[in-house]
């Protein structure tokens, strides 16, 4: 037998799940709004066309789960400053290339001769540094708890190789503090959460216990195949209807209750939590990561004196309300008119995993 994800997009079973969902949603006689907080879930939902076949009274909202969308433009501006340094190589994930800071995108400065490279893994950035001792390699450290430990490993590798030309610009974000901020008074009006499958594979289930415990909301850690998502929605509807909010894990094939403690230890060895600014939301306490003092030599911002300017959001942009679930992309007056993927006004349209970009591309 071999491990196989194919059964998780079985269309016959998907149909059964939808039938059950329709039945439960209809009997409940109320509206449901569930939020997913993972860009990969936003994409998976959009690509599978799930939204188009959900019952009318069940709404799926996209929360602030796209690391590119929640990265303030100032981070890009700081990276652009780095790109202008002599011998600099900016290495980052492909998602970052077209995000615009006040002074343009990384893609634009590449056109002006800057050395900007797409990498698949932060270890590839370390390899560039190792192979090019006269270059200064700055890795754009964007992502959540799935990605941050990887940068921690990359930094440790750089140290082991005694590299003096490898840096990480830390712009990581943490999910549980963001969920807490979303649930604060005046926050998102949601009935439950679809929790990020791969972040949870790293951090486990404990960090989410506060959601049912303090806020009496159900939440389900879900995988990314259509059946994972449809089951999660079914469970959320049931838990709300029965008034039995709980934390469930439907992605048990990848998520253990304790997560990956080794990965968390690695993350904590190199980074520590700090307040962080989330684009379109503002500062969320303890929701980002900064280098621990012992590892500060690898901090691009400190070591290369890079500054992160504050920029205001474009006029009329309502991304903050979109990613906190208060409105849908369609309800933003700029959607599809003044704000499109080729000319995005705000962060939700910037990355294809952003709520507005996903709605635009997949025809919501």
């Amino acid at each position: 037998m071999t491990y196989n994800e194919k059964p998780f997009s079985d269309s016959a079973l998907a149909k059964r799940m939808l039938e059950k969902l329709y039945d439960s949603a209809q009997s409940a006689g109320r509206n449901f709004s569930f939020m997913e907080v993972c860009g990969t879930h936003t994409m998976a939902i959009a690509k599978s066309g799930i939204r188009a076949v959900l019952p009318e009274n069940v709404r799926l909202l996209s929360g602030p789960g796209c690391p590119v969308c929640v990265t303030p433009p100032g981070v890009i501006d700081a990276l652009l400053q780095a790109a202008a340094l002599p011998g600099a190589v900016i290495a980052g994930f492909g998602d970052m290339l077209r995000v615009r800071g006040a002074n343009g995108a990384l893609e634009d400065c590449r056109l002006k001769g800057a050395d900007v490279r797409v990498v698949y893994s932060p270890l590839d950035a370390v390899a560039i540094a190792e192979q090019n001792p006269r270059k200064t390699v700055i890795f754009a450290g964007v992502g959540f708890e799935t990605t941050a430990p990887l940068s921690a490993c990359a930094v440790k590798k750089a140290k082991a190789l005694k590299l003096k030309n490898f840096y990480v610009y830390p712009a990581f974000k943490l999910v549980p503090p963001a969920l807490r901020a979303l649930l604060a008074p005046g926050g998102a009006a949601v009935d439950g959460f679809i929790l990020p499958g791969h972040v949870s594979a790293v951090i486990g289930l404990e960090p989410y216990r506060f959601i049912p415990a303090e806020f009496r909301l159900p939440c389900v850690v879900a995988g990314f195949e259509p059946l994972d998502i449809l089951h999660a929605v079914n469970r959320l509807v049931s838990m709300v209807s029965e008034n039995k909010p709980a934390l469930e894990n439907e992605y048990s094939r990848a998520v253990k209750p304790e997560g990956n403690p080794q990965a968390v230890r690695l993350l904590r060895e190199v980074f520590e939590p700090a307040d962080a600014r989330w684009r379109a939301i503002g500062v969320i306490p303890a929701s980002g990561l900064v280098f621990r003092q012992e590892w500060e030599e690898f901090d691009a911002a400190l070591s290369l004196s890079l500054s992160e300017p504050l920029s205001p959001e474009p006029q009329g942009c309502r991304c903050g309300e979109v990613i906190t679930g208060k409105i849908t992309p369609k309800q933003c007056p700029l959607f599809k008119t003044a704000c499109t993927p080729s000319a995005p006004a705000g962060p939700c349209m910037v990355s294809s995993e952003g709520a507005c970009a996903a709605w635009f591309h997949y025809g919501e």
């Binding site: 997009s9 269309s11 998907a14 149909k15 860009g39 990969t40 994409m43 959009a46 690509k47 599978s48 066309g49 799930i50 188009a52 076949v53 796209c66 690391p67 590119v68 994930f93 492909g94 998602d95 290339l97 077209r98 001769g113 490279r117 797409v118 990498v119 698949y120 893994s121 590839d124 964007v142 992502g143 990605t147 259509p226 449809l230 993927p341 080729s342 990355s351 294809s352 995993e353 635009f360 591309h361 997949y362 025809g363």
Partner: protein
Amino acid sequence: MKITSAHGAGGKATSELIVGIFLKHFGNPALSLLEDAAELPVPRGRIAFTTDSYVVSPLFFPGGDIGHIAVCGTVNDLAVKGAEPKWLSCAFIIEEGFDADVLERIARSMGKAAAAAGVQIVTGDTKVVEKGKGDGLFINTSGVGVIADGVNLSVSGIKPGDCVIVSGSLAEHGLAVMNERHSLGLKSGIKSDGAPLNGMIAEVLAACPHGVHAMRDLTRGGLASALADMCASCGFSFEIEEKLIPVSVAVRSACGILGIDPLSAANEGKICLFCAPDCAEKVLSVLKKNAYGKDAAAVGFVGDKAGGPVYLKTAIGSKRVLRAPDGEVLPRIC
């Protein structure tokens, strides 16, 4: 030997380059005259004329190189209009310092591709730009072909009910190039699918002279771009089924790892075609017998919704709209 500005100046160095490299590998009577313009017989029928520039980086990738696709791409653009490709021009823009041996490798590849396609490169140009102004090498090829009487392939001929067929597995070129370009470290048999398709297309048109309404070469932006464009031009909706679209196991896996949509990644040896439903079976059978069409598949049909988009039926039986990708397709983390 390195290419210098002298090689682009039109004097002795340029002649040596042309004779020593270009004529050597793709010379023919017309080209050998080395006149300012090639003199060609006026054919019967209509002339098809196309142009394309090739700026791919890296220049060499599994399955091909810039020279190979520069010839095949232009040949295919003519062929999808129902033309018999005949004559190509090629213009080289070379960056100062470029290795002449590498240029010869590329010229050899172009000669082979032209011979395989049955076309001649009859005129050309060579320019050299300063170091830093050219990314190594750019090639432009323009092509002339002949459309015989009675052949009419155009997006305006697409009708509701037409079958949409794809000639084989998608995204191979895009992934092969991306893997090299960004040093992504994927080990697989994925190779660029660059190939001259004029022979295969001629076989299809011979088998179904009136049933094939339109064809399109799938290049950058993949099937998604091609379908979105054709849909917008013909004015009818398309109903495509995701599970019918041919994608190899390796490409599917690579796309999963990198977060790439196989429908958006580039191809260099694939076409999509629109034909009357009653000749779909014939068309598929002809394609599958050809080496370049062995994985051909019917992927959907033309709907009757005016102004409608391309609808894609998903794995779970729902529908979403298929749009052209927005900009360069890159690996993602999210």
